[in-house]
């Protein structure tokens, strides 16, 4: 257990200034006067305290693609981005479709100890879309999986999707759907629109996402299950989810930082750093996503952090892998697109980046209030520390960020997991000095 820490004069949720006293992994007090004598003190003036961020959609690549990322490097990158918990997607090699694999991921996450790693279980064996994996075994394993997803692939077969939605009710699980009609997106390279027509790249039409979301919310309604929509990217998808929620369907949805900031225009240079699935859409879609996040149609922001080694990106577009890293830029992009534009408050950010993702994933120790007696999972944000993204300077093993050279207005400057600093900015080195000595 780490030494007691006092954060003075920090703005909780961007509102009232307060102190935070972290002792024995818990928030012990909101008054610095209560701090133990051996507590290390840091000045929280000008900083915003949020409950530790939770990413419902991360690719840590281990096991199988340790050249792209490992649980250790991914955890470090997550902590630096302000996260205290991540959900590691199942598309590893081998696939996380058995209790053995999910336990391996969870235990490796615990060993590293920088964030809580919650493995996501595959819905179907080997993500092959034909046979349900043993979700019960994964749920009942030590990893206690609650989120199931074939992310990277769509659970396309409607009957299989229905069965999955029904089955996960057994253990209060949720299916997180990668909504992509496979036949409509065969060979697709980018958003189907005017830009794809000009660039001669095969299109990924919005309808391929929207038709699956429409089907799945209706299925969820029919069987009375909850369903989570991964990386929602189109204006039409926002409309469908808004409609579904108005009918009381148990649907939640996530948007990705890159879909809140970038458009298909970025593809014009054929630079594969901008190749991602679902693809960057149009400005109209970006605007709809921001509006959906503002009005609550979209519940959360998740990163879809998808590391790839240089050789899979430093090539021609058609040969490049889909995906971009995003753990360290997510918070800054949310601030840039949602907070600084007046659409969301920091209290809302706590909701979309911590409380709701924790609740969807049933992560009981995360997304808790900043209150006495709660777990000391805390992220300090400096909303005035503008910085320019340097992809090679991140803690991720991969460099495939599309945000290189973009200035973001703020960032996480310290992250505490159960009271232990897992990332601290240079200005707080006093926190870690001696701690390891």
């Amino acid at each position: 257990m780490s030494a007691p820490i006092v954060i003075t004069n920090v703005s909780l949720y961007g509102d009232t200034p307060s102190d935070l006293v972290l002792v024995d992994g818990q928030i012990a007090s909101l008054d610095a006067a209560d701090a133990p004598a051996d507590a290390r003190t840091i000045d929280g003036s000008g900083l915003v305290a949020l409950p530790g961020l939770v990413d419902l959609h991360t690719h840590l690549r281990e096991p199988g693609r340790e050249d792209a990322e490992t649980i250790e490097t991914g955890s470090r990158s997550a902590a630096r981005g302000g996260f205290t918990a991540v959900h590691a997607m199942a598309n590893t090699t081998p696939t996380a479709d058995t209790a053995g694999v999910v336990e391996l991921v969870a235990s490796r996450g615990r060993e590293v100890g920088l964030v809580d790693v919650y493995p996501v279980g595959a819905v179907t064996v080997g993500l092959n879309g034909t046979q349900l994996s043993e979700m019960g075994a994964m749920a009942n394993s030590r990893a206690q999986v609650r989120v199931f997803s074939d992310d990277g692939k769509c659970v396309h077969d409607p009957l299989l999707m229905r069965r999955a939605l029904e089955y996960v009710k057994t253990f209060d699980g949720v299916v997180a759907q990668h909504a992509q009609e496979p036949r409509l997106t065969e060979g697709s390279q980018m958003h189907e629109g005017l830009v794809s027509a000009e660039l001669g790249l095969a299109g990924w039409p919005a309808v391929a996402e929207e038709s699956i979301i429409a089907r799945d919310v209706l299925l969820a309604e029919h069987v009375g299950s909850r369903v989570h929509i991964c990386h929602l990217s189109t204006a039409g998808s926002v409309e469908i989810v808004r409609w579904a929620k108005s009918r009381g369907i148990q649907v939640t949805a996530e948007a990705m930082p890159h879909h809140l900031l970038l458009t298909d225009e970025s593809a014009r240079g054929y630079d594969p750093r901008f190749k991602v699935n679902p693809p960057l859409r149009t400005q109209e879609d970006v605007d709809a996503l921001r509006a959906g996040l503002e009005d609550g149609t979209i519940d959360i922001v998740a990163t879809d952090h998808a590391p790839h080694p240089d050789e899979d990106k430093d090539c021609e577009w058609g040969a490049a892998a889909f995906g971009m890293i995003g753990l360290e830029t997510a918070l800054g992009i949310v601030q840039k697109t949602m907070v600084d534009t007046g659409r969301l408050t920091w209290r809302d950010v706590a909701r979309i980046l911590s409380e709701t993702p924790a609740s969807i994933g049933r992560d009981e120790a995360h997304g808790r209030p900043l209150a006495v007696g709660e777990p000391a999972n805390v992220t300090l944000v400096d909303p005035a520390d503008a910085w320019t993204v340097e992809p090679a300077a991140t803690d991720s093993r991969s460099n495939n960020s599309p945000f290189g050279g973009i200035e973001l207005p703020g960032r996480a400057v310290a992250t505490f997991l159960r009271g232990t600093p897992t990332y601290v900015d240079d200005r707080f080195t006093a926190l870690t000095e001696g701690a390891s000595a």
């Binding site: 005017l194 000009e198 660039l199 790249l201 095969a202 054929y270 090539c315 021609e316």
Partner: protein, 327 residues
């Protein structure tokens, strides 16, 4: 000009310069001695990731007529079986001292990537010889050259120097969606002042082409012939793999395609007297074009091939001469 990547970024001024230069190159090709010393000591690499004997030998002839050394490099690969990466190939070419790389690649954007990625340091010029379903600029330029020579010269002697294709109406018929020839032609024809008519089944039209309103679109060839007095008609090759099968076909059958889009005798007879017929080759006789049309006096299909050499000579000259290129 440093690279020739597409016609979409080509100014009218540069396009006309290429056509004018091609005109002078073509004149030298009528002499007994066709070889010119212009690019002596320069190395042109034909880098082909896709088979295209026609395009390769055309570029090879162009480079050799200008006395450049030519290295043919075929690197097979596809999105499925990657083979050698474009980047490693680029590093190899750089090491071999290439001055220009003529690249044909299955991936849209490959030529631009090669030019702009920083893999080729210094002064290597990139000529796009067809990238995926994106662009094939020298094909569009040779088509424009052929049209200009036949359709813009008659009124005032034969000197077409400095002219575009202003006022001409040109139809492109067939698979517009996947055709890099169409992609390059539509952009260049518009730049040069021609009216573009596109004829294709709706399944083979690029997204948003009709809505943009820059070209006239028709769903059958008869409709297009009814609506326009065409000066030139370009029949695009139908790729066999696009046709039918497995629910992925873009049209029901070759027979239906021929009925709606094929250029046969009856449709040819509806063209204006001076109208010419183009085809980028290789032709599917009996599918998109009948033998009668292909072999008629209106057909300039064979001439397109020889003009291709002149246009490619012009492109190589303009990219490889000049102080910029030697910097």
């Amino acid at each position: 000009m440093k690279h020739l990547l597409g016609t979409d970024g080509l100014s009218r001024e540069d396009a006309v310069l290429i056509l004018d230069t091609a005109g002078q190159m073509a004149a030298t090709q009528e002499r007994e001695i066709r070889k010119l010393p212009t690019l002596r000591g320069r190395t042109v690499v034909n880098l082909f990731f896709e088979d295209s004997t026609r395009t390769r030998i055309s570029f090879e002839a162009a480079a050799k007529r200008l006395s450049a050394d030519v290295i043919n490099f075929s690197a097979k690969g596809s999105s499925l079986s990657k083979g050698e990466s474009l980047k490693d190939t680029a590093l190899t070419l750089q090491a071999m001292g290439a001055d220009a790389v003529v690249v044909r690649h299955w991936a849209s954007g490959a030529a631009q990537r090669l030019a702009e990625s920083g893999w080729l340091h210094g002064s290597v010029s990139v000529l796009n010889a067809g990238d995926g379903t994106h662009q094939h600029p020298t094909q569009a330029l040779l088509d424009a050259f052929t049209m200009r020579r036949h359709l813009m010269g008659a009124a005032v002697g034969d000197d077409v120097t400095g002219k575009g294709l202003d006022g001409l109406t040109v139809a492109l018929v067939g698979d517009i969606l996947h055709s890099r020839v169409a992609g390059s032609n539509i952009a260049l024809l518009r730049t040069l002042g021609a009216n573009v008519v596109v004829v294709a089944p709706p399944t083979l039209l690029p997204y948003g082409l009709e809505e943009r309103g820059e070209v006239a679109v028709h769903y059958t060839l008869d409709d297009a012939l009814e609506a326009h007095d065409l000066d030139a008609i370009m029949m695009l090759r139908v790729q066999r793999e696009r046709m039918t099968g497995g629910g992925s076909g873009f049209f029901p059958s070759p027979e239906e395609y021929t009925r709606l889009f094929g250029l046969d005798r009856a449709r040819m007879d509806r063209l204006t007297d001076h109208a010419i017929i183009l085809h980028p080759g290789p032709m599917n006789r009996g599918l998109e074009i009948s033998a009668e049309a292909a072999d008629s006096p209106r057909s300039v299909i064979v001439e397109q091939v020889s003009n291709g050499v002149a246009v490619r000579m012009a492109a190589l000259y303009l990219l490889l001469s000049g102080e910029e290129a030697s910097a």
